[in-house]
C-alpha cells in the first residue's frame, strides 16, 4: 500500500514537471544524432570517459583507442580471432634471411580529407613513430626496424636489424596508425584524418565524439551512417541509458554492474579478456630466492581469488592469454593450492619462520584490485608469508610501478595478440619494461630471440609454450585470472562482434534499427 502511494506521489510530481516543461517522458527515444541516410542506422555507444587524446600514436586509454581505431587505418589488422590479416598492406613478405620485410600497399585508398594514401605516407608514419621527439608509444614495436624505404608508390621495404616475426602483428595496433604525409601532427589532435571505415565528424569535449561513415573507405563500407560515443561517466547510468533506449551499445568493466544489465531487454555478451590479473614479483630482497617465489605461487588458490574478487566472472589463466598461444594453467608447479609444498619451498629457502613482502595495490584503477590483494594476503598468511599491502591512489601506484619501486604488485596488465609483443619487453634482458618486471634469464632471452626469428606458427607455439613454462617454473610472477569484458547491446543492435582485446572494430559491420 505504502509503495503504491509512493509511486502515485512520485508519478504525480514527475507528470506535473513534464507537463510544466511541455514534454512527454522520453521513453525509447531515438538515440541517433540525426536522420539516417544509410541502411544501418545511427549508433550511440556509451563510454565512461572522453578520449584523453585524438593522436593515435599516443593513445593508450581504452576510450581513445576505441574511437581512433574506427577512424584510422593500419598496415595490418586483426580478425575476430586476433589472426593478422591484410589492412592497408595487401600482402607482406620477409626475405630469406628475415632482415627485409616488403609490404605491398592497397591501391585506391584515400584519407578522410581526400588525399591519396601511398608509400610516402607509410614512410612518413613509420619514421615519425620511430622519431623519439614524437614520443609514440608504439615505437618499441618497430625496435627491429633500421630503415624504411619507398620502393615505388605501392611498395615499402623495411630493413630489420634481425628477423622479427612479431612485426606484422604489431603493425595492426592503432598506435602504429598510418597518417598522411601532408598532415600537421598538431592539427591531428583536434581533427583526426584517417583511412578508417568512419571519419571524424565533431566533438563536444566531455560530452560526445561523433563519427560519420567514410563513403570512400577501401573495404566493405560501414553499415552505420554515424556513431556517437556519448560520455556517461557512471557505468550504472550507462546501463540505465541502455535500458531506456538512449544508448545502443556499451562495454562494461565492473562485473557487478554487468549483472544488473543482464536480463530484460538487453543482451550482455561475455568475452574473456587478453588482459590478465597477476601478482607481480620482483627478484629482489627475499624474492631473489626462487624458492620463496615458488612458495608464493603454491600458496595461492587462483580460483578463490577469482571467486572472491570478481564473483567467479573470469577464467584462471597462465602467462599467455592470446588465443593462438594460450598457456595451459595446469602446466605449472602448483596447479592447485598446496600449502605443504609452499612451506617446503620456504624451508628450502631457510625462511621457515616466514617472510614479509611489501605489496603495492592500486585503488580505483580497476574494480577488483583491493579485493584481490586482500584475498591473496589472507591465503598467503596461512603459509607464513605476510603481504604488507600498500593501497595507493592510482596516480601514486603508477608512479611506483613505473619507477619499479616495489617488491610485489597486484596488477591488471594489458595483453597482446602476439606473445613476443606481450612479454618480450618484460622478460628479456634488453626489454624496456624488464626493470619493472624484475626477472630475466639467458634461457628466456634465447627463447624470445628464437620466437622472433621464425614465422612458422607451429614452431612459434612450441617456443612460447616453453616461455610460459620457464616463467611459471621460476615463478617470475604469479598469474591469477583473466576477467570478462561485458558488451551490452539493445535489441535494435545486430552484427556486433565483441573481441577479446576489447576492440570495437566490428562497429563497421553493426546495424541499429
Amino acid at each position: 500500500m505504502a509503495r503504491s502511494v509512493y509511486r502515485w506521489c512520485a508519478g504525480t510530481i514527475l507528470a506535473g514537471t513534464l507537463a510544466l516543461t511541455g514534454c512527454q517522458a522520453p521513453v525509447q527515444t531515438d538515440p541517433g544524432t540525426g536522420s539516417d541516410p544509410g541502411t544501418g542506422g545511427a549508433a550511440v555507444v556509451g563510454v565512461t570517459s572522453d578520449p584523453d587524446t585524438l593522436m593515435p600514436w599516443k593513445a593508450t586509454q581504452f576510450q581513445a583507442v576505441n574511437v581512433l581505431q574506427n577512424v584510422y587505418g593500419t598496415l595490418t589488422e586483426y580478425d575476430k580471432d586476433l589472426n593478422t590479416v591484410p589492412g592497408l598492406a595487401e600482402s607482406w613478405e620477409a626475405s630469406a634471411d628475415g632482415t627485409k620485410l616488403t609490404l605491398r600497399l592497397r591501391q585506391g585508398v584515400t584519407f578522410a580529407d581526400g588525399t591519396d594514401f601511398d608509400a610516402t605516407d607509410v614512410k612518413f608514419s613509420l619514421d615519425g613513430i620511430l622519431d623519439e621527439a614524437n614520443a609514440a608509444v608504439g615505437s618499441s614495436t618497430l625496435s627491429s626496424v633500421t630503415k624504411v624505404a619507398v620502393v615505388d608508390p605501392q611498395t615499402v621495404e623495411l630493413s630489420l636489424s634481425a628477423p622479427d616475426a612479431a612485426l606484422p602483428s604489431g603493425l595492426a595496433t592503432v598506435n602504429l596508425a598510418m597518417l598522411s604525409s601532408e598532415d600537421d601532427l598538431g592539427v591531428l589532435e583536434t581533427e583526426p584524418n584517417g583511412t578508417g571505415p568512419f571519419s571524424f565528424d565533431s566533438r563536444t569535449p566531455s560530452q560526445a565524439i561523433r563519427l560519420k561513415r567514410n563513403d570512400a573507405y577501401w573495404g566493405d563500407k560501414a553499415k552505420l551512417a554515424s556513431v556517437e560515443f556519448r560520455v556517461i561517466p557512471d557505468e550504472n547510468a550507462i546501463v540505465t541509458a541502455l535500458q531506456s533506449g538512449n544508448v545502443n551499445l556499451a562495454v562494461i568493466n565492473d562485473p557487478l554492474v554487468a549483472q544488473t544489465a543482464e536480463g530484460g531487454t538487453l543482451t550482455v555478451a561475455k568475452t574473456p579478456q587478453l588482459s590478465y590479473h597477476a601478482l607481480q614479483l620482483r627478484t629482489q630482497g627475499v624474492l631473489a630466492d626462487k624458492n620463496v617465489r615458488l612458495a608464493v605461487q603454491c600458496g595461492i588458490d587462483r580460483q578463490q581469488v577469482l571467486d572472491t574478487a570478481a564473483f567467479g566472472e573470469g577464467e584462471v589463466v597462465g602467462p599467455i592469454t592470446a588465443p593462438a598461444y594460450k598457456s595451459d594453467p595446469n602446466a605449472r608447479p602448483c596447479p592447485t593450492r598446496d600449502i605443504a609444498k609452499a612451506k617446503d619451498y620456504l624451508a628450502k629457502a631457510g625462511k621457515s619462520d616466514g617472510v614479509t613482502i611489501q605489496t603495492i595495490v592500486s585503488q580505483g584503477e580497476y574494480a577488483t584490485s583491493v579485493s584481490e590483494a586482500q584475498n591473496l594476503k589472507s591465503q598467503l598468511a596461512e603459509v607464513g608469508i605476510t603481504l604488507e599491502l600498500e593501497i595507493l591512489e592510482s596516480g601514486a601506484f603508477v608512479d611506483r610501478w613505473v619507477a619499479a619501486d616495489f617488491e610485489a604488485a597486484v596488477a591488471l596488465n594489458v595483453g597482446r595478440p602476439d606473445p613476443e609483443s606481450m612479454y618480450g619487453r618484460y622478460f628479456t634482458s634488453t626489454g624496456n619494461l624488464n626493470k619493472v618486471a624484475g626477472y630475466n634469464s639467458p634461457e628466456l632471452d634465447a627463447l624470445f630471440a628464437k620466437g622472433k626469428a621464425t614465422d612458422d606458427q607451429a614452431e612459434r607455439q612450441q617456443i612460447y609454450t616453453q616461455v610460459s613454462k620457464e616463467l611459471e617454473d621460476n615463478a617470475a610472477w604469479v598469474w591469477t585470472f583473466t576477467g570478462y569484458t561485458y558488451t551490452a547491446t539493445t535489441q535494435q543492435v545486430s552484427g556486433f562482434q565483441p573481441m577479446v582485446n576489447g576492440s570495437l572494430q566490428s562497429l563497421r559491420t553493426t546495424t541499429v534499427g
Binding site: T60, P205, S206, Q207, N236, G395, V402
Partner: protein, 326 residues
C-alpha cells in the same frame, strides 16, 4: 587605530574587495601546489603504466610538450601572467581553451545550483516555520525527522536511486540524452535538471529547515513580537511581516553558503546524471592531470564563491535595516 586609516580603506565594500583579491591569490597558489603534490603527472595520467616504456628522449619530448620541463615557479608565473590577460590556458586533453570549456560548464552548474536552491527554499522554509509554530508537536517532530533524513542520505545514493527507479518505472531518463542547452531546448533541459536538482535541493533543504525553525522560535520569543501581538496584529501578518522577515537573515546566510558549496561541490551529482558542469570538469581534470583546466576552473569557482558571499552580505542590507545603518 582604525580611525587613522585613509577613509577609502575604511569603506566596507573596498575592504571586502581587497579580502576577495587576497582570497583568490591564496586559492591560486594553493591549487597550484596541491596539484603538483598529487602523485603522477600528465604523462603518467595519459600513458598509465606504459610510461615505464618511454625512453629518456621520449619522456623529455613529452615533458616539453606538456610544459612540465619548466621550473615550477616559472610555470606558476606563466599561468598568472596568462590569467591577467584573460587566458585561462589550453586543455591538453580537449585541445580547446579553458575559457571555452568553462563558458560551457559554468552555466550548467549555475542553473543546477539555482534550481536546487529554489527547491530547498520552497521545501525548507514552510516546513521550518510549521515546525517552529507547533514546537515539540507532531509537525515539529515530522519536520525534524524529515531534515535528519535528508541530511543523512548521501547524495550519490539518492541520485542513483532516483535515476534507476524513474528510468525503470516510467522510462524517464532525459539524462541519457545529450545535454540540452536551455535556450535551444528548454523543455528537455529542465527535465535533465529535475532529478539532480531534487537530489541536491533535498540535501540543502535539511539545514534550511533547521535554521528556519531555530530562527523563528528565537524571534517569536522577542519583546517586539509580543508587543505587536498585544497591539492586535493578526497571527498571519505577524508571521509574515515580523517573524519571517527577521528570521530570514540566518536563512540567507545558510542559503548563500550552500549556494557557494553547490558551485564546486555538485561533482557527484553531475557525474551520476552526466551533466557537463564545472564539478565534472574539475574531476576529469584531476583524473587526467590537466593542470590548466583544474587550476583555472577552481579559480573561477572560488571567484563565484566570493561573489556569492558578497551578494549575501548585500542581501543583509536589504533584509535588515540595522545592517544598512551600520
Amino acid at each position: 587605530m582604525t580611525e587613522s586609516r585613509p577613509r577609502l580603506l575604511r569603506s566596507p565594500v573596498l575592504g571586502r574587495l581587497l579580502t576577495a583579491v587576497a582570497t583568490l591569490c591564496g586559492v591560486a597558489l594553493l591549487v597550484f601546489i596541491m596539484l603538483r603534490a598529487i602523485p603522477g603527472d600528465r604523462i603518467t595520467a595519459t600513458l598509465g603504466t606504459e610510461a615505464a616504456a618511454l625512453s629518456p628522449a621520449q619522456r623529455a619530448a613529452l615533458e616539453a610538450y606538456y610544459g612540465l620541463d619548466q621550473p615550477l615557479v616559472l610555470q606558476f608565473l606563466n599561468w598568472l601572467g596568462q590569467l591577467i590577460t584573460g587566458n585561462l590556458g589550453i586543455s591538453s586533453r580537449a585541445q580547446v581553451s579553458v575559457v571555452q570549456l568553462t563558458a560551457g560548464a559554468l552555466p550548467v552548474t549555475l542553473e543546477l545550483a539555482v534550481i536546487a536552491i529554489l527547491i530547498a527554499l520552497v521545501v525548507g522554509i514552510p516546513i521550518g516555520m510549521a515546525a517552529a509554530t507547533r514546537r515539540n508537536g507532531i509537525l515539529d517532530g515530522a519536520g525534524q525527522v524529515f531534515a535528519l533524513l535528508w541530511l543523512s542520505v548521501p547524495a550519490f545514493l539518492l541520485a542513483s536511486v532516483l535515476l534507476t527507479y524513474t528510468a525503470r518505472l516510467w522510462g524517464f531518463n532525459p539524462n541519457g540524452q545529450p545535454y540540452a542547452v536551455p535556450w535551444l531546448n528548454p523543455g528537455l533541459n529542465l527535465q535533465q535538471m529535475l532529478l539532480p536538482a531534487i537530489t541536491l535541493g533535498l540535501g540543502i533543504a535539511a539545514p534550511i529547515i533547521r535554521t528556519t525553525r531555530t530562527a523563528v522560535i528565537e524571534i517569536g520569543g522577542l519583546d517586539f513580537i509580543r508587543t505587536a501581538r498585544a497591539k492586535g496584529v493578526s497571527e498571519a501578518r505577524l508571521r509574515a511581516r515580523h517573524v519571517l522577515r527577521n528570521a530570514l537573515v540566518p536563512v540567507t546566510t545558510m542559503t548563500g553558503l550552500q549556494f557557494g558549496y553547490l558551485l564546486g561541490g555538485a561533482v557527484v551529482v553531475e557525474q551520476i546524471f552526466s551533466l557537463p558542469g564545472v564539478g565534472r570538469q574539475v574531476l576529469l581534470g584531476i583524473q587526467q592531470k590537466d593542470y590548466a583546466v583544474v587550476q583555472s576552473t577552481v579559480l573561477v569557482i572560488a571567484l563565484c564563491f566570493v561573489l556569492v558571499n558578497l551578494l549575501t552580505d548585500l542581501a543583509y542590507r536589504v533584509i535588515d535595516p540595522r545592517v544598512r545603518q551600520a
